[in-house]
């Protein structure tokens, strides 16, 4: 394998040629798009909500829209339900995906391959189809009700249009990436470390707690960050499966922007979601950058 590792990466193109910035020209358009449609909107959103004309029309520092958000009970309720949904989803996701990934890491054969295929499958189901399937299965008179009725049991209290609706949908939607990220982290746990621990008499739980968990803690945090970023401002599933009031931040922003026609307050809500997710976003970027650097 030594010959596969190049001692010094020799550039294909002469170094004096490749030092020239003409690579910049090739990357200019995508970079411009990111600057214009990602970086600038964020700066613009923060600027527009903080520096606004006051009653006299003079432009100045103005926190009114934020004061309004945090003094409005309806907005607070929406923020609370969003935080609740995100927290519950993160806990449920870990509770489901950690055992699956542990199982997949330490098994080989056809059955684990099938389990992995099933766990990754939701990635290829668009959330709109998921929402439709959810209603047909767990909705009123859905498949679960039909099956319960056929064996003489009472109907379920449907999670459709309750806060549990988005939770179930979002967990379903996020299982594949969480499993993939955790599996990739578990790939770094050496078999020898586990065998050594078992040789000195550690049981399964001790192996997990003392050997595996410290080695995958970073992957767990990445998986949670990724899920939180996706769930906190998710729109389609909460909009279709969740209650009308209180609603999660995604549908709330959508309604403020489109139906109430109030861009200023919609942007304020967007900036508030940025603030709640900033730590997760930074952690995510740092982890990806560190991984790529390896």
């Amino acid at each position: 394998m030594t010959d596969a590792a190049p001692a010094a990466p020799r550039p294909l193109i002469d170094s004096n040629d490749s030092r020239r910035p003409h690579g910049l020209l090739l990357v200019a358009i995508p970079v411009f798009l990111v600057a214009w449609l990602v970086i600038w909107p964020i700066i613009n959103a923060i600027g527009r909500t903080l520096w606004r004309p006051d009653a006299t029309g003079a432009l100045g520092f103005n926190l009114n829209s934020y004061v309004f958000f945090f003094s409005d009970q309806y907005s607070i309720n929406n923020l609370t339900i969003t935080l609740w949904t995100t927290l519950v989803c993160a806990i449920v996701l870990l509770a489901i995906c950690l055992p699956i990934s542990l199982y997949l890491r330490f098994s080989h054969g056809k059955l684990p391959a099938y389990v992995q295929a099933m766990a990754i499958f939701p990635m290829f189901v668009p959330s709109i189809i998921l929402a439709y399937a959810f209603i047909r299965v767990l909705g009123p008179n859905g498949m679960v009700d039909i099956l319960l009725n056929s064996v003489g049991l009472p109907k379920i209290r449907t999670p459709y249009l309750t806060p549990w609706g988005p939770v179930i949908g979002l967990v379903w939607d996020n299982i594949p990436l969480t499993v993939l990220i955790l599996l990739s982290g578990l790939g770094n746990v050496a078999n020898q470390a586990i065998e050594a621990a078992r040789d000195v008499g550690a049981n399964r739980f001790q192996v997990f707690w003392h050997i595996i968990l410290p080695r995958i803690s970073n992957s767990v945090l990445v998986a949670i960050s990724f899920a939180v970023l996706g769930i906190f401002s998710s729109f389609t599933l909460p909009y279709l499966l969740g209650p009308a009031s209180p609603e999660m931040m995604g549908p709330f922003m959508n309604r403020t922007f489109r139906e109430v026609n109030d861009p200023l307050n919609a942007i304020t809500q967007a900036v508030i979601t940025f603030c709640f997710c900033i730590a997760f976003g930074l952690f995510y970027v740092r982890s990806v950058a560190r991984n790529q650097g390896k």
Partner: protein
């Protein structure tokens, strides 16, 4: 020596993998199948159902009547055409601007290369719908709300990360020694790219293009927020079918129809997503 060989193999295999009956696996397989396959099966059954009243476990009458009704709806055809147009335009534009950029990131050295490379993560480091609202506020001033090109722009930004990062990995995994060997025997840079680099990087790049096409086709939130009311893509039409349509089968038929491109993507993208590379791309 021949007698020794099996035991050396056996000892190399860690004892952890030896599980007599894989009960854990069976439980996972059953639960996941119930949670993943059953809902989709129910949708599939609904699509071919003409009458299914509540207490019956199986539909009273199967048939294709609702396929006919769905496919003769003008709004379905308009949405399908529009979605295909959008996905094609976005994917072509994305390939045209991202593939040269990916080549530059993989092979050329220029000032700010690393910072610019990681700048594509920015779009994924913020909550997506919040970012869309911030973009929509800017599009509002530019009169891009409700226009075809507004939606193209928003979906184009969504494809950048995949269309740059996956091809960069593809270009980097091309064996440089083969390229140098080709150059040593006199091939020009274009010939090297065409005969050596592209055949090796091609399949992965094709998978990235396909992913971006399918991802754009199903992109819901940008189309919903930026496109309304003028631009009604297929997923946006589905939302209105789910919310306001009394006929259940329309949604089921559309789901099954929309499922086909997704399934093709599943087949083609396995090689990209199967590897740990994909999860590492997400920071795993």
């Amino acid at each position: 020596m021949e007698r020794l060989a099996p035991t050396t193999i056996a000892t190399r295999r860690p004892p952890l993998v030896r599980i007599p009956t894989d009960w854990t696996g069976i439980v996972f397989a059953v639960l996941l199948s119930a949670a993943v396959i059953v809902p989709l099966l129910v949708v599939g059954v609904w699509a071919f159902t003409e009458v299914w009243r509540y207490p019956n476990v199986i539909p009273q009458q199967f048939g294709l009547r609702f396929w006919n009704q769905t496919l003769t709806r003008a709004d379905v055809w308009a949405a399908l055409t529009l979605s295909l147009q959008l996905s094609t335009v976005v994917t072509l534009l994305s390939a045209a601007i991202c593939l040269p950029a990916a080549y530059a990131f993989a092979r050329l050295s220029f000032p700010g290369r690393n910072v610019l490379f990681f700048s594509f993560l920015a779009g994924h480091a913020f909550p997506k719908f919040g970012l869309l609202i911030a973009i929509a506020a800017i599009f509002l001033q530019l009169n891009l709300i409700g226009t075809f090109w507004g939606v193209v722009l928003i979906q184009l930004v969504g494809t950048l990360l995949f269309m740059i990062w996956i091809p960069v990995a593809a270009f980097q995994s091309v064996d440089r020694r083969m390229e140098e060997a080709a150059r040593d025997v006199g091939a020009g840079p274009f010939r090297v790219f065409w005969s050596i680099t592209l055949p090796q990087a091609g399949p992965t790049i094709a998978a990235a293009v396909l992913l971006s096409f399918v991802g754009t086709f199903y992109e819901t939130e940008g189309a919903w927020l930026i496109g309304a009311p003028g631009i009604r893509t297929m997923p946006v039409l589905m939302i209105s079918f789910i919310n306001n349509q009394m006929v259940i089968q329309y949604g089921a038929v559309l789901s099954v129809m929309l499922w086909v491109p997704s399934f093709i993507a599943l087949m083609f993208a396995r090689r990209v997503i199967g590897g740990g590379a994909f999860a590492r791309g997400f920071g795993g």
